[in-house]
């Protein structure tokens, strides 16, 4: 843990060497998320509600997804750019060192500019929390916190899975974007609006609904079953197959030789 903090400090220092570029990128991140927010805002100001969900409720949903995505992208970025490690042969160096590989990949790249995106997510939350009319008792606050934690677990697993696949393809495969970027994009709205089939897919195959939709129902008072609060924790189960796949790929790894 101490070593990890040290790595964070080093990464932060090195990124701060290019201050102008750093802040421009962070601002860019903020603006990209902000335009997504404006898209939702304009759609809702035209239609007022979608499948019974109103703007503040949707913004809570959007904010949870964006927060967990931004945090995962910041700290698990090493897996997101993992194909580069393979292509450049730097993975060989990592394997030679007497430390856990996952730990080293995690610390190889920490992307602090993602705080621009996080800021946008938090702003939406600040707006939506009073506007939604939810009575913020202890259990509701717990729900939001667990939703975010569950979200981080699922997004991180997806990045690890993506890295695992790139052992076989060397290049990152574009199709995984539909799960990572796509989830961030389409997770703006509660996934139930896409229809039953998609909801099932997002529950059993890629468990996004576990942290985004079911606890959300409890949060906005559509459901009373208290068990829904803890559903996001199941997202951690998703880590197991993804991690196993990564180990499997690592065992079969052949260096690209460059």
């Amino acid at each position: 843990m101490k070593l990890y903090l040290k790595f964070i400090a080093i990464q932060l220092k090195s990124q701060m060497q290019y201050k102008a570029s750093f802040f421009m990128t962070a601002v860019g991140q903020f603006l990209i998320s902000f335009s997504a927010f404006l898209g939702v805002y304009f759609m809702l100001s035209r239609f007022h509600s979608v499948k019974g969900f109103e703007l503040p409720e949707i913004l809570i949903c959007f904010s949870v997804v964006l927060t967990s995505f931004a945090i995962s992208e910041c700290f698990v970025r090493g897996f997101d750019v993992f194909p580069r490690l393979i292509q450049s042969g730097n993975l060989d160096r990592i394997l030679l060192r007497p430390r856990n590989e996952v730990f080293q990949v995690l610390t190889s790249n920490i992307e602090f500019t993602r705080f621009g995106r996080l800021l946008q997510a938090l702003l939406m939350l600040v707006y939506a929390v009073p506007a939604s009319g939810i009575v913020w008792s202890f259990d509701k606050i717990m729900t939001v916190v667990l939703m975010i934690i569950g979200g981080i677990a699922v997004f991180s697993s997806l990045f690890v899975l993506y890295a695992g696949i790139s052992f076989f393809t060397v290049e990152g495969i574009e199709f995984m974007n539909i799960f990572t970027d796509g989830t961030k994009e389409f997770g703006k709205y509660p996934v139930s609006i896409y229809g039953k089939g998609i909801l099932k897919f997002y529950t059993y195959v890629v468990p996004i609904a576990l942290f985004q939709y079911y606890p959300f129902l409890y949060l906005v008072g559509r459901s009373d079953s208290i068990g829904l609060i803890f559903l996001p924790l199941l997202g951690f189960l998703f880590m197991i197959p993804c991690y196993c796949f990564f180990r499997f790929g690592l065992r079969r790894y052949k260096s690209t030789g460059s």
Binding site: Y18, A20, S21, F23, M24, T25, V27, G28, Q29, L31, I32, F34, S35, A36, L38, G39, F42, M43, S45, R46, F47, H48, S49, V50, K51, E171, I173, E174, F175, N177, I178, G182, F186, Y189, I193, Y194, G195, I198
Partner: protein
């Protein structure tokens, strides 16, 4: 002219080589388009009266957008050009007996077109066979189809001349990551890539319509679906042409300015 044609050909053929990547892209864009249409369906089912166009027109718009994504996505930039500026290899290009603006313009066109050619046919084919309100339909009329062809070419040229401005900005800033992100987010939003322009509030629509960004993908797609028709379509095509001339002139002048006082990075 001949040398630019061969630049175009080289880049175009090189772009056609990445077929496996194209299949991945096709699958992604298809899933993306599918989910987007489902999202609009939810809004349509909530309140069909607030929908600015028919649902099948919207599906057509989305499929066109996905099929021609490689042509119209703003965030794709040729890294070779940026690297050339930061590393100093641009000096070689300056020695060549050809106009830098035209050369970059042609190269960009070729890369984008080759990617779009590989991807658009399968996407359009599958989309054509989807059941009625979810698939892509034929253009509203024969004239709409013809005007769409003119408009899509103009839109493409406007987009390339917009991205040229970003390339030129690299002469001044060296590190372009920030500018690229800023430009991309503004551009994507105002050209109707986040939500189509007819979904914006009416007041904003009027402003957006006269900005150059609407001339990129919104105008051709809306002509195809018949949302813009008749004399209005001719007007918007005229507007596209005006923007194209203005943006290209601006780009050429800026390029001249920056080349006059360029300092080549050693290295």
């Amino acid at each position: 002219m001949k040398k630019y044609l061969s630049f175009f050909r080289i880049r175009f053929i090189a772009g056609l080589q990445y077929r496996a990547a194209a299949w991945g892209g096709i699958a992604t864009q298809f899933a993306w388009g599918f989910l987007t249409i489902l999202m609009y369906r939810a809004f349509y089912e909530t309140s069909a009266d607030s929908f600015p166009m028919t649902f099948s027109a919207l599906s057509t718009y989305i499929w066109l957008q996905q099929a021609l994504l490689a042509m119209f996505m703003f965030w794709y930039f040729d890294n070779e050009i940026f690297e050339g500026i930061t590393s100093g290899t641009i000096a070689y290009e300056l020695c060549r007996p050809c106009n830098l603006y035209s050369m970059w313009f042609v190269k960009n066109m070729a890369v984008r077109l080759s990617r779009a050619v590989l991807r658009c046919v399968p996407i359009l084919l599958v989309a054509a066979f989807l059941p009625d309100p979810y698939g892509i339909s034929l253009p509203q009329s024969f004239e709409a189809g013809a005007l769409f062809l003119i408009s899509v070419i103009l839109g493409f040229l406007v987009l390339v001349s917009l991205s040229m401005l970003v390339y030129i900005s690299a002469f001044y800033t060296i590190s372009t990551q920030g500018i690229r992100m800023l430009a991309t987010s503004v551009m994507e939003f105002l050209c109707g890539a986040v939500i189509p322009i007819p979904f914006f509030p009416v007041v904003l629509q009027r402003v957006m319509y006269v900005l150059p960004f609407a001339s990129v993908q919104s105008t051709p797609f809306l002509i195809y679906t018949g949302y813009i028709n008749g004399i209005e379509a001719l007007h918007s095509i005229g507007l596209q042409a005006i923007w194209l001339v203005l943006l290209m002139t601006a780009g050429i002048l800026l390029m001249k300015c920056s080349l006059r006082k360029i300092v080549v990075q050693g290295g």
